[in-house]
Symmetry: C2
Subunit: 410 residues, 2 copies
Amino acid sequence: MARINDHYLKLAGGYLFPEVGRRVEAFRVAHPDADLIRLGIGDVVLPLPRSVRDAMHRAIDEMGTEEGFRGYAPDQGYPFLQQAIARVEYGSRGVEIAPDEIFISDGSKCDSANIQEIFSPEARIAVPDPTYPVYVDSNVMAGRSGPADANGSYAGLVYLPCTEATGFLPEPPDEPVDLVYLCSPNNPTGSAASREQLERWVAWANRNQAILLYDAAYASYITQAGLPHSIFEIEGARRVAIEFRSLSKSAGFTGLRLAWVAVPRELEGRDASGAAVSIFDLWKRRHATKFNGVAYPVQAGAAAAYTPEGQAEVRELVDYYLANARALLEGLGSAGLRTFGGINAPYVWLETPAGTGSWEFFDRLLEESSLVGTPGAGFGPAGEGYFRLSAFSKRDRIDEAVGRIEKLRF
Amino acid sequence: MARINDHYLKLAGGYLFPEVGRRVEAFRVAHPDADLIRLGIGDVVLPLPRSVRDAMHRAIDEMGTEEGFRGYAPDQGYPFLQQAIARVEYGSRGVEIAPDEIFISDGSKCDSANIQEIFSPEARIAVPDPTYPVYVDSNVMAGRSGPADANGSYAGLVYLPCTEATGFLPEPPDEPVDLVYLCSPNNPTGSAASREQLERWVAWANRNQAILLYDAAYASYITQAGLPHSIFEIEGARRVAIEFRSLSKSAGFTGLRLAWVAVPRELEGRDASGAAVSIFDLWKRRHATKFNGVAYPVQAGAAAAYTPEGQAEVRELVDYYLANARALLEGLGSAGLRTFGGINAPYVWLETPAGTGSWEFFDRLLEESSLVGTPGAGFGPAGEGYFRLSAFSKRDRIDEAVGRIEKLRF
């Protein structure tokens, strides 16, 4: 039999969300009449903006004509979309990212899973703890870790604790690493990095010749003035950072799939001989070889989200979910729970009641309140004792969820 | 600086099609008024079928409503599409593939590039020569080869020559390998494997405990009766094969992106200890971790291609391109060129005039006839002396191309 990639066998249990899904499915089978409220997976629920739909309809009609049909898209994305993103997301904030430094893709999950491929199998990796599981799992699959211990921590990875003491965001490590995954606004803790924190990271990366893999998929949820929306707002970041962005949570694209990676041309790694190699060139080669572009109607819809009408609709969506987050924060607070995040992010991070593990809290909420959240421990050992609730729901369901939680005794 | 994946530096030159693109672009700049005919990249040109467009419009309208909005798709695909594919592509031909053995994706390029990840870094790989470059490049990137020689052949890979003597399809190797990439109808040679040939491969793989990675992206172009459309038409294939299929060239989806991988549950590899491991489980884990589903409107459009109306439209598209291929075969023949393929595939494989290298022939066709094809050598050393012309064009352009070729003196 053909030899498999043994690193896959190190993966601890299932991927978090399928495991949550299995428990919910078992509950649904046992309680077919339960009125489930799902605040687990961070999936948007509001209808797709009109400007996006209109543009997609037009694109599909075009593809039904001799002249308007489009086959393979440029693998890096259509220039019309790269330009819209460069203008609205970067240029308007005074950030220098050229359109052709933007690689359009079908999702930040794919991008953040794939980016490790262009680095050495021996690269030393740091991840926040708790963290979005894809950063860890993709590196375990690639053989950059040893086995997992009983807590689900992998030997060889450097974990950067995000605790109450660190403001639920990671601090630079003391030991040398090659790649650091950062996420701000943070998934799962819902905290967003300040300019000062990011300046500290960029200075550290420049000093230590490390590369920051900066996931800002939730950037549009930043409400507080002065917080950077892009790592490239920080001086010196073009020499040390790659940024991941997405339309999933801004324009409601979870079911359409559109994201991008911004890779500055200055960014360099080194080969075995110590010579500098352009990271932009490596990623471009990967993209050309293993990806074939995003559907034209989806790119047309994404570009529409950057028109003035589209931007207004996006703002409305984001504000709706942010109001949900505020309602969650207030309701959980009055139920006596300590909460974090939820101001610059669509996630509320709550401390589970003393002595209650996070999977135990998950099961209790599911069994007693028909409520689905995500156990903090599923995001890493330092997530134990915490629980993530997503603000991506209809408002009446959020209010109903808060009512049910208030009825529980903690 | 962070250490890069040095294997990328072994990649010889650019990926073939970007290199073709660069030469064409240089020609366009030098000859802005030239009437270029592009028979290079195999990209469809006819409008998207009405049934596909109608279904996509409906899906987009649904996503504009509170009740009809859909967020993340199931990462393996919507059951409605898995079922349609299982029924029409497999069940109707008496082939046993269950809906949940079908993994919907955004393209066969991605799938055939990604599949190697679940196998050992030390797995021994065989590829046809000439071949679709993605099979080779994805394995070079993963470190399964040494450096390339002057012909572009990589040390450590096993090349299976597809020559006139072998009917332009590979024969099983004499040496042991773990994974074999097969492509039928073949890209680039345009030949399709007979039942007998596939039976020989399946028997060989069962005997040698190898896995066949069977790319049948062009299956809908098979016209001759008795030729298998799926490797799973062969007894015993479920224990040794993975199949790649696509809607790109059948329903005109190159600009929409939809494909699938069929992985039978019986298929096994072995881990370091020699224990059997389910390949289905490994691929499922990769899919869940590194992929996030295909856009709902695209899946809805794909399902429409499997309705009776959709199937009739697909047949019409395929027949149009097959008629083009016949016109190419006839025209090239009367121009005195020897041709192959083009009967069960949208590609014509022609022998370049004696003494003319395939890149030389490419440049000559471009300079003298403003005609773009693909040099055989770009697909591998055994492609030297051959040239691929794609039938994916409007008929009047095919006729014009034939006229120009007839004017050249060979």
